[in-house]
């Protein structure tokens, strides 16, 4: 087993390009999603989830703080769950997750598609996918 040695380059040596920025974005958006999911859990508990919901339902709210996501649970009053504040939080979580996920798909595609042309097509498809899924998701959040 070879010993791993840490080694860090300064930003100027490493170069600043799109791939490096997306590498950083993937890490930071992971932290952001942790924060937003925790925020959603706290929000659910503040809105009375302690005695109206089981843990699975609290997680359902945490993973997507949108009122339709808890509609089928035994929440007696849906009004506090349907506020603009939670719609905005839901948008933030959704957009961060969509960008993180679709960039992940591009990374996977880059590993298995051999031709340069194919990788370019995968990138274009990923941009189309990101735009269309964002529009659909925001439509669902704001019209529910």
């Amino acid at each position: 087993m070879s010993e791993l040695k840490s080694r860090s380059l300064s930003l100027s040596q490493r170069g600043m390009n799109f791939e490096m920025l997306m590498w950083l974005f993937t890490r930071l958006s992971a932290l952001a999603m942790y924060a937003l999911i925790l925020f959603g859990m706290i929000g659910a508990l503040v809105m009375g989830a302690r005695n109206q919901m089981n843990f699975a339902d609290v997680m359902r709210w945490a993973f997507m703080p949108n009122v339709t996501h808890v509609q089928s649970t035994n929440v007696p009053d849906l009004a506090p769950w349907a506020s603009t504040f939670w719609k905005l939080t839901g948008c933030a979580l959704f957009l961060v997750a969509a960008a993180h996920g679709i960039h992940g798909l591009v990374v996977i595609a880059d590993d298995y598609i051999k031709s340069t042309r194919g990788r370019q097509i995968a990138r274009i498809l990923s941009i189309i996918m990101l735009i269309s899924i964002s529009v659909i998701g925001l439509y669902i959040i704001w019209t529910s």
Partner: protein, 124 residues
């Protein structure tokens, strides 16, 4: 984008990456699983109707829940490890220990969740 990789599938499968390689593969499977699931989930709630109801039945199935919870939990815990090690590059020397800690967190959490899913499925 002009990278040349001349490694075939068979050579790739013969690569013995051990623990870190296993987490890499599972991270990838988990990410793909979640990506497909969440895309279907969003499209189902957008379209509704017959298709939406069918997809609802799929993800309320306990077998599917065990699979998707593996994807989500492993991707989340492994992703946190990657984030911490990458943002503090000195820690990469302790990667193997970090992976052991990761399994120590993952196995009990996932085990309890699987027990809960199965007991709910048996009771309902």
């Amino acid at each position: 984008m002009g990278l040349k990789r001349n490694v075939g599938l068979v050579t790739g499968l013969r690569y013995k990456g051990q623990g870190p390689m296993l987490t890499f593969v599972l991270h990838r499977i988990g990410g793909l699983g979640m990506g497909i699931f969440i895309t279907m989930h969003i499209l189902a709630s957008f379209m509704g109707g017959q298709m939406g109801a069918f997809l609802n039945n799929v993800y309320e199935n306990w077998v599917f829940q065990i699979f998707i919870f593996f994807c989500v939990l492993f991707h989340a815990i492994n992703g946190l490890r990657i984030t911490i090690l990458d943002l503090f590059p000195k820690l990469i020397e302790h990667q193997r220990e970090a992976i052991w800690i990761e399994w120590a967190v993952f196995i009990p959490t996932y085990g309890i969740a699987v027990l809960a899913i199965i007991s709910t499925a048996m009771g309902a």
